[in-house]
């Protein structure tokens, strides 16, 4: 059972309240595909991923980035039971999408970096700690149904 302090809940809520999903989602996914190019293996049907510029301007990637980030909202709204909230999503990623769970960590590192860019010094060490704890719980929940 994950225990959240009041400070952690406040930090995570604050970060999400300021989030523009249509901006951060695309930025996060495209950064992941550029910084960790092997992750492109899951996006064969997404069109031109030939170079960084192509990735950053790809509308299908942008749309999918927003979709992925919206998925995080589910965890935000169910912080006390992320494990069960994500059971279905975990099966989806394991059985249908067949995403190597190590990739979840890569995407969450990119998200941290994009949020840091947006928030600047408001992204304090304590905020970073809370946010990374939240993301690691999400990542763990997503990997749970793999067998």
């Amino acid at each position: 059972m994950v225990v959240w302090t009041d400070e952690e809940r406040a930090a995570i809520s604050d970060i999400f309240s300021k989030l523009d999903y249509d901006d951060v989602g695309p930025k996060c996914l495209s950064r992941c595909l550029i910084v960790y190019p092997w992750t492109q293996r899951y996006f064969g049907a997404f069109g031109n991923l030939y170079n960084a510029e192509a990735i950053m301007n790809n509308p299908l990637i942008a749309k999918h980035g927003t979709t992925v980030l919206r998925g995080l909202e589910r965890a935000l709204k169910n912080m006390d039971d992320i494990k069960n909230t994500y059971a279905e999503l975990s099966i989806l990623h394991s059985e249908k999408l067949r995403v190597d769970p190590d990739n979840f960590k890569l995407l969450s590192d990119c998200l941290t970096i994009v949020i840091a860019a947006k928030m600047g010094t408001a992204f304090t060490p304590e905020y970073q700690a809370s946010f990374q704890k939240f993301l690691s719980v999400v990542v763990s929940a997503l990997g749970r149904q793999y067998h």
Partner: protein, 143 residues
Amino acid sequence: MSLSAKEKVIVKDFFAKVSSRSDEIGAEALARLIVVYPQTKSYFAHWKDLSPNGAPVRKHGITVMGGVYEAVSKIDDLAGGLLTLSELHAFVLRVDPVNFKILSHCIMVVLSMLFAEEFTPQIHVAVDKFLALLALALAEKYR
């Protein structure tokens, strides 16, 4: 994974551009390391003051960032150029190499925070590779 000639230029140019704030970057990165990853405090148990904004942490962050800049200047031969530092980390400090990865992440979070416009995905990948190669060079003498 090695740095291409173009990536070496990207890394050198970027670190030159942010050099005026290198102390701030180092201090902030180390502060984050001990707050976000409290287990890393085990290496600093001999300090009286382990607060993230305290003098020992900030001073050491500056030292570490100095090492990063030294590595930038020796980017063409990291293993050779960082031999002494590698021996220090291997035989004296004995820092588990997994911590190099998490410090690299903290450095990049700080770079992104302070230089949001400049730390583009293209620069991010070059810096990520560089820091990974730096870590490898530091671990060269471990066993």
